[in-house]
């Protein structure tokens, strides 16, 4: 029995050890790649929603900061009520002093305005009153520059008149001296149009309050730009919800990063901001707090659609991560 027992034990031990599978060595378990999802996964996350009102979209070219509402309340005075060819909108960028200036289009607007000044007494009075209130000196100087002695006399009268008298005089000479006052009206109109150049908008996005766990999940396993066919990537996209009766061209970007969405045309209503890939460093800067900037060019204005000081332009940014979220 003493001889058999060890032999039996050895046989049993041998049988048991013969079925060892070293592929499943539990001391070699890889735990660094634990993640939520897999290489085919996709995760979306809200990032920031930035609200702009008329007060944020403004001009500062005249030295006074004018809101979009203030600008276009005045624009409604200047622009003809009936646009050339029955158009519903004015292509603002084509009448501003810039690379896109279209003299023929500008002339058509001016021509339509002049027609209304001659044929619509209410329009004439409105503009005359506005000139008397805001642009009196500019108009007077323009009259003097004509060299017409009669207009020079009117200029002197306007200079000393009160608002009502000046309005009446200006209205009168626009009607009676149409051809002579065209240039003066155009000078004042062009002076107004300068205000329609809009300032760039800057908004500070604070530090995103997500825990370090979440932050690491987003950033840890990102492929850098040298990787061909990257799997783990971050993309930034968004929506621009434009409540204003304008078509803008915007260029949203984040300062001190390479996050730049390029030129985007934004119609009234919801607009998609196409996604761009962002790299780890830029995402870290964004999460730590950054400045969101946006240039605006007014492409088109629909004068018969109203808006208020409470009307909003809203940019919503969201993130998309491809690949797994590393734990």
């Amino acid at each position: 029995m003493k001889r058999i027992t060890p032999l039996i034990m050895l046989i049993v031990l041998g049988i048991m050890t013969s079925c060892i599978d070293k592929d499943y060595d539990l001391s070699q378990i890889e735990t660094d790649d634990i993640a939520v999802g897999n290489n085919q996964s996709e995760f979306k996350m809200p990032l920031a929603t930035i609200h702009f009102t008329s007060y944020n979209i403004c001009s500062n070219t005249s030295g006074d900061q004018l809101s979009l509402k203030q600008l276009y309340d005045e624009a409604d005075i200047w622009f003809p009520t009936n646009l050339p060819d029955g158009a519903e909108y004015i292509e603002i960028y084509r009448i501003l002093d810039s690379e896109h200036f279209d003299s023929a289009y500008f002339d058509s607007i001016v021509h339509a305005l002049e027609n209304e000044l001659q044929n619509d007494s209410d329009k004439r009075t409105l503009i005359a009153s506005h000139i008397a209130a805001k642009y009196r000196n500019t108009f007077i100087n323009a009259l003097y520059d004509t060299g017409n002695s009669e207009l020079n006399q009117y200029a002197a009268l306007i200079l000393d008149a009160d608002q009502a008298e000046a309005t009446a005089i200006i209205s009168e000479i626009i009607l009676s001296h149409a051809s002579e006052t065209e240039e003066a009206v155009q000078i004042v109109f062009r002076r107004f149009l300068q205000k329609l150049h809009l300032e760039n908008i800057h908004t500070d996005i604070p530090k995103i309050e997500i825990s370090s766990d979440i932050r690491d999940m987003l950033l840890d396993n990102l492929d850098d730009s040298s990787v061909e066919n990257p799997i783990n990537c971050l993309y930034l996209s968004g929506d621009a919800d434009n409540g204003f009766p304008f078509i803008f061209q915007i260029n949203p970007h984040v300062e001190n990063t390479s996050i730049d969405f390029g030129q985007i045309t934004v119609h009234q209503g919801a607009n998609n901001i196409e996604e761009i890939r962002i790299m780890r460093d830029d995402m870290q800067r964004l999460l730590d707090g950054a400045t969101f900037s946006m240039s605006l060019i007014t492409m088109r204005y629909y004068p018969h659609r109203s808006f208020t000081d409470e009307t909003e332009f809203c940019v919503k940014l969201r993130l998309r991560k491809t690949g797994a979220l590393q734990l």
């Binding site: 060892i20 599978d21 592929d23 539990l26 290489n39 995760f43 929603t49 609200h51 500070d204 996005i205």
Partner: protein, 449 residues
């Protein structure tokens, strides 16, 4: 969920080092000193004194997930199911709606027994360390981890307890054919933990990220660290230390009977672990969580004022709740067996049926056994369990039980199955291994003469 909690959960599911004190292959081993743990009416062939610790080491697992459901060997690396390199279709393919895993372990510290002068009445004393683990993870949890899709995750639970039991067993004849056995157990609680989540949801979509947890935690026998959260509530902040004091007391009773219908045919039945464990209020920490956090992005108004909800997973902590004592029934088992012997008991064929009432699931097992006793001191059994087994669940047991010398026992049901270098079965979700060494003493049994 923090990575460390995931790894621990995975390890529990994988290792479940614990064992169920009861290897079904040992049920019909007449020379084994472990038989009385199945049925207190059973008795070994001789009195014995176990070698401390080595006298009885029993490990078993029971569930519906195996190592190769949770670990994947790919390109020379062994990855967890949560690895991003493991495709979700592969990872989820063999999981069940509810993935559960149970285990219990008995480690014999002291054990001895002897026959009385009639060679039929047997008594024994044992001091054992017992550990029970029961856990369940729903499919939806794994689905979320692998695909990231929002899930309604509910019913995640984990329970473990450990206690020392001092057992006195008395087996005696009622008639020539019927033996009755009773074990009385005094239990001293070493530690207990229970975590259960009624809800554990996470959503990640373009407009909102959120995490919602509703659950309860109970921990006995450990001192917990606490901290005050930003909203003023007291929360648990991790384990401080093991208290080292009994966390509770309990009692248990096993009752069993054997009936020799014929000299060759024996029927047996037992109910084990009828009893309760009382975990004291003083040594029990209790926590609840009912919290939802969400992130909807930073909102910046027209004045440049920014508001945002804070999204911090560290806030998902258990709040300190009023402690209360916990009383629990022990995981009762019912065992039924029958064996027919041939050739002067040299060969026996047996069938054994066991029901175990666990925390999250009632487990059934049917085992067929062929038992060989070519010599009085040499016994071998082969068994096969029919329910819940995967791949090569062939049980084999060997008992060398001389009247003098060393009593050696080894039983396992994963002898032929593929196993890790750490001897954990790879494809088998149910596993048993029993080992014991003791010294025979005193009188022999004449129960079958």
């Amino acid at each position: 969920m923090k990575k460390i909690y995931l790894i621990v959960a995975l390890m529990v599911l994988t290792f479940a080092g614990s064992v169920n004190a009861q290897n079904p292959t040992t049920y019909f081993m007449e020379g084994s000193t472990f038989r009385s743990q199945w049925n207190p009416a059973f008795a070994p062939q001789h009195g014995y004194v176990n070698i401390p610790i080595l006298g009885g080491i029993e490990l078993s697992t029971n569930g519906n997930v195996a190592v190769d459901n949770l670990l994947f060997s790919q390109n020379g690396k062994l990855s967890t199911i949560f690895s991003s390199a493991v495709p979700s279709t592969l990872a989820l393919s063999e999981l069940n709606n509810i993935n559960h895993f149970g285990a219990s372990n008995t480690l014999n510290i002291i054990g001895f027994g002897a026959y009385k002068s009639d060679h039929k009445t047997f008594w024994s004393v044992a001091v054992n360390l017992r550990t029970n683990i029961d856990t369940q993870l729903p499919y939806s949890f794994f689905d979320f981890m692998k695909t990231g899709k929002a899930q309604d995750i509910s019913g995640m639970g984990f329970k473990a307890d450990s206690y020392i039991e001092a057992v006195y067993t008395h087996s005696f004849p009622i008639t020539d054919k019927i033996y009755l056995g009773v074990s009385g157990k005094l239990l001293i609680g070493a530690g207990r933990g229970r975590f259960y989540f009624d809800k554990f949801d996470a959503q990640m979509n373009a407009d909102r990220w959120s995490a919602n947890a509703v659950g309860v935690m109970e921990l006995s026998g450990f001192d917990m660290e606490t901290r005050r959260a930003d909203d003023g509530t007291m929360c648990y902040d991790g384990l401080d230390s093991y208290s080292g004091k009994p966390a509770g007391y309990g009692f248990g009773v096993d009752v069993g009977v054997t009936y020799d219908v014929l000299p060759e045919l024996q029927l047996s039945a037992s109910i084990n672990d009828i009893g309760c464990m009382f975990w004291s209020k003083k040594h029990t920490s209790r926590g609840v969580i009912n919290k939802e956090i969400e992130f909807t992005g930073v909102q910046i108004d027209a004045n440049g004022v920014a508001t945002q909800p804070e999204f911090d997973l560290d806030e998902m902590e258990f709040e300190v709740a009023d402690s209360k004592g916990v009383s629990e029934f022990l995981p009762t088992t019912i065992n039924l067996g029958g064996e027919y012997n041939f050739l002067d008991r040299r060969i026996g064929l047996g069938v054994f049926y066991s029901i175990a009432f666990w925390e999250y699931k009632t487990r059934h097992d049917i085992t067929a056994s062929a038992n060989f006793r070519p010599l009085k001191w040499l016994h071998a059994s082969g068994s096969y369990s029919f329910i819940g087994n995967r791949a090569h669940a062939l049980g084999l047991a060997l008992n060398i039980c001389p009247a003098r010398g060393i009593n050696f026992f080894l039983g396992t049901d994963f002898l032929l199955s593929k196993k890790t270098p750490q001897w954990i079965p790879v494809s088998q979700s149910n596993m048993n291994i029993t080992f014991g060494m003791g010294v025979p003493i005193g009188r022999n049994s004449i129960r079958h003469e």
